[in-house]
């Protein structure tokens, strides 16, 4: 076990150095964005090497923060370069994104709701993305944002219940599980609407 840990640490450090050397040479911002994703994979590798349950508890929120950070950075990049009005060239025309049946979406959403919590939110969000991409959409952004805001407040409230009144742990865990499910699903469904034809 100790051997695995140390070899892994050295390899991860080497990989981080390689990634940041190419980051130094890079001048194009989109290439830098792609390298940021590489760096986040390296960070996850470092955490995964801990190998106990703590590692998993650190990886899950880390993944969700990574995706929301990427989303914000990508949007900022588009605004900064003035590319929002571009009509996208379909260089990567992924067939499954155009024609995937809605049945797949419903399976993912139902399984996500059964899972609940972080993973459930991610799985259900993936389902919602598939559905919105396949079927087109009417933007209801105010709604999505409002729901997501309330879910966030509920999660923070649940957290403080656990911290201050630990005897109410059951109530708090239930609130947190539901709230984070809604929160992550809402955030990911926003990505789904971003690709639609009407916003080009």
């Amino acid at each position: 076990m100790i051997d695995t840990f140390h070899t892994g640490m050295i390899a991860a450090s080497l990989c981080i150095i390689i990634a940041f050397f190419s980051f130094l040479k890079e001048t194009d911002d989109l290439h830098r964005l792609l390298l940021t994703d590489l760096a986040s994979v390296m960070a996850l590798f470092l955490i995964a090497l801990v190998g106990t349950d703590l590692a998993e508890a650190l990886i899950l929120p880390g993944l969700v923060v990574t995706i929301s950070k990427l989303m914000a950075l990508a949007e900022i990049y588009l605004v900064k370069e003035g590319l929002q009005k571009n009509s996208p060239s379909r260089i990567l025309d992924i067939e499954v994104l155009q024609s995937a049946p809605a049945i797949l979406a419903s399976i993912l959403v139902i399984y996500g709701i059964i899972l609940s919590g972080f993973s459930g939110g991610a799985v259900a969000g993936l389902g919602v993305i598939f559905y919105l991409v396949c079927k087109g959409h009417q933007e209801r952004f105010e709604l999505i944002e409002t729901v997501s805001g309330y879910a966030w407040v509920a999660w923070i409230a649940a957290f403080f219940i656990i911290l201050i009144f630990p005897s109410q742990w059951f109530l708090a865990v239930m609130i947190a599980g539901g709230a984070i499910l809604i929160k992550v699903t809402a955030k990911l469904s926003l990505i789904g609407t971003m690709r639609g034809e009407s916003d080009v």
Binding site: L34, G51, L60, G125
Partner: protein, 79 residues
């Protein structure tokens, strides 16, 4: 150290080099090479029995690929 860990480990190192210096240096090559270390880390998680982390990572990788494809399409598109 079991087989999954060693394969994953090799994939991560190879994938990092491939992503850091892609051969035709364009966005798509880099994006596809990025899947190599991602697959490596999946195998590493598998070797440590971190199943929930693995499932969530699959979902998040799919979404981040999706985000990058959208940005690249806009970048290469006609103004």
């Amino acid at each position: 150290m079991n087989a999954e860990f060693i394969i994953g480990f090799g994939l991560i190192i190879l994938g990092t080099v491939a992503t850091a210096w892609p051969s035709p240096k364009d966005y798509i090559t880099r994006l596809i090479n990025l899947e190599l270390p991602a697959f490596g880390i999946l195998l590493v998680m598998l070797s440590f029995d971190e199943t929930i982390a693995l499932l969530t990572f699959i979902a998040v990788t799919a979404i981040s690929t999706f985000l990058f494809v959208r940005v690249i399409e806009k970048k290469e598109g006609i103004p």
